[in-house]
């Protein structure tokens, strides 16, 4: 993640001077631009370039892979390999186990999100990108909360399902569906309503970096999803039988 962020930043000075690169992007139909991060993105600015090449998709894939792996290993994988049985046969309450998993996930995601954003902040002066600190800070919070929301859904799946594959399947499915519905919502008004229910609608890295206000609605949405699914995970694990 760090290496990739640094390499992408290193490419910016060269690509930003290539008018052909900009023209190439401008030739894309609006619908296609929306598929990669939005038609309003100015690719010649560092924020636009980073949105398309780093924040919109690649970073999310990296963090989602970690999130799904982590949450699956906390419950469903531990159940499959027998370590959950060993732990819960001890005087440990299940709700505490679930909440501890959730707090560990939040801490790990905070660290990874910080690392991702700090990489860009460190690369910015080196490659003369002039990235705003405030914008990166906003993005850091939104990125963290988005992954927390995905992690909470995945933690719930980990508590409810019987195999690691099902947890990965649901997590990946939600992420892809969310991305595609967001794309459809950006292009066709018929999908706008349903898009509001999904994670990607509230994730707008370009706006976070370039606009002055704080995306409170996104933060609130992700926080609500996180609390709701963590609560569900606690309830489901509390009620189910632990079998290998």
């Amino acid at each position: 993640m760090v290496v990739f962020g640094f390499l992408i930043s290193a490419l910016y000075p060269s690509l930003s001077k290539m008018t052909a690169f900009s023209q190439y992007w401008e030739q894309f139909p609006k619908n296609l631009k929306n598929l990669f991060g939005g038609s309003n993105v100015n690719i010649l600015t560092p924020e636009g370039f980073l949105t398309l090449e780093y924040y919109q998709m690649i970073l999310i894939i990296i963090l989602a892979a970690f999130t799904l792996g982590f949450t699956a290993s906390c419950i469903v994988k531990a159940r499959e390999n027998g370590t959950l049985e060993l732990i819960l046969a001890h005087p440990i309450e299940r709700w505490k186990y679930t909440l501890t998993s959730s707090v560990s996930l939040a801490t790990a995601l905070a660290g990874l999100s910080l690392l991702a954003v700090a990489t860009i902040m460190a690369a910015s002066p080196v490659f003369d990108m002039g990235i705003s600190f405030a914008g990166q800070l906003k993005l850091l919070v939104i990125l963290w909360f988005m992954m927390l929301a995905l992690g909470s859904i995945s933690l719930f799946a980990s508590a409810a399902f019987n195999s690691t594959g099902q947890v990965y399947g649901l997590g990946i499915g939600i992420l892809i569906a969310s991305y595609l519905i967001n794309y459809l919502g950006n292009n066709w008004s018929a999908f706008k309503f349903i898009d509001r229910a999904f994670l990607y609608h509230y994730y707008a890295p370009y706006s976070a970096m370039t606009e002055s206000g704080f995306p409170w609605a996104s933060l609130l949405y992700y926080a609500l999803v996180s609390v709701a699914f963590t609560t569900l995970a606690v309830i489901v694990l509390q009620r189910r039988d632990i079998s290998v």
Binding site: G82, E85, L86, A89, H90, P91, I92, E93, D241, S243
Partner: protein
């Protein structure tokens, strides 16, 4: 004194299947209690309910006086549990794993370290202390599992098929360890290997198809249910003699075990006279010929209605 384990109408249903059906029994303090049943009889399900890993469909179970339905699980700090196939974090070494086990039982760091070292010594794992658990043999894992179960010096030790998969030496060592615990702590040992149960247990609970079929002291159970019988040993031709006995009207049930023929049935008085004659007519050298009660496996087969699924 509170019974370390007490089950009252304990029932577990999975849809149409009833894995445990109204089990009612209790375990005496300081005893080594065998929990006996064939594979799939409901032993592991019962242990899971006792430990709060599975929720009973009906009835209740009490461990050290606390209901398994109780949200408060603090009483489990006095309970050691050895699952059938103990799971470990394979990347840890045994010292780290035992310290981790002590930590989740609420021991402080210094105590964890000290107890981990002590357990490694007791269970003969000191020379493996620095090795990753991933490379351990089945016997070494079982010993580490037992060390984990014993780290907080529990008053009650619950073991699920502890000798399954062990070689004869490992099995002997483990059974010796269990025997030595008698009186010092209560042991509840689930097993389908009846020879092991006979060797170490003083009391027994038998279940079949989820139902309790008998419980009590081992000797009482065997005396109560074993049919009168004879044990015959010949130097050679054991199988030939067994076949011949099966053909006799007075012989009853004939079974072979460790080179001995066990004969059980209602007409053992006649058998006592006829067996020497039959052995002699076959020209076989008779080594020993004793009358007496049967063993636990015979009792279990009788009470469970056969060896279905054994």
């Amino acid at each position: 004194m509170t019974a370390p384990i007490e089950c009252s109408g304990l029932t577990k249903r999975y849809g149409e299947l009833t894995a445990a059906d109204g089990l009612t029994f209790s375990v005496e303090p300081g005893s080594v209690m065998g929990f006996v049943g064939h594979n799939g009889a409901g032993k592991t399900t019962t242990l899971r309910m006792l430990l709060g890993l599975a929720r009973p469909s009906a009835g209740d179970a009490y461990i050290l006086g606390k209901s398994c339905r109780n949200a408060d699980r603090s009483h489990l700090s006095a309970v050691g549990y050895l699952p059938e196939s103990p799971a470990f974090y394979r990347w840890m070494n045994p010292r780290e794993f035992l310290a981790f086990a002590g930590d989740i039982l609420g021991m402080d760091e210094r105590e964890c370290r000290a107890k981990a070292g002590e357990m490694l010594d007791i269970f003969g794992l000191s020379r493996l202390a620095g090795r990753k658990i991933a490379g351990f043999s089945k016997g070494e894992r079982q010993r580490l599992g037992l060390a984990q179960a014993m780290i907080a010096d529990p008053t009650l030790l619950i073991m699920d098929e502890p000798t399954s998969g062990l070689d004869p030496m490992g099995r002997h060592e483990l059974l010796t360890l269990i025997s030595e615990m008698r009186g010092a702590r209560t042991v509840f040992l689930s097993s389908h290997i009846l020879e092991d149960v006979e060797k170490v247990c003083d009391r027994v609970v038998m279940i079949s198809k989820g139902r309790l079929v008998e419980s009590g002291s081992l000797r009482e159970v065997v005396e109560r249910h074993a049919e009168p019988g004879l044990t015959i040993e010949v130097r050679q031709g054991t199988e030939e003699l067994a076949r011949a006995l099966e053909g006799e009207s007075w012989s009853g049930t004939v079974s072979l075990r460790e080179g001995l023929i066990r004969l059980a049935g209602p007409d053992m008085d006649k058998a006592q006279h006829e067996v020497p004659r039959l052995v002699s007519s076959l020209g076989l050298p008779l080594v020993s010929f004793e009358s007496g009660g049967g063993d636990l496996s015979e009792v279990y087969l009788k009470l469970s209605g056969g060896g279905d699924g054994w």
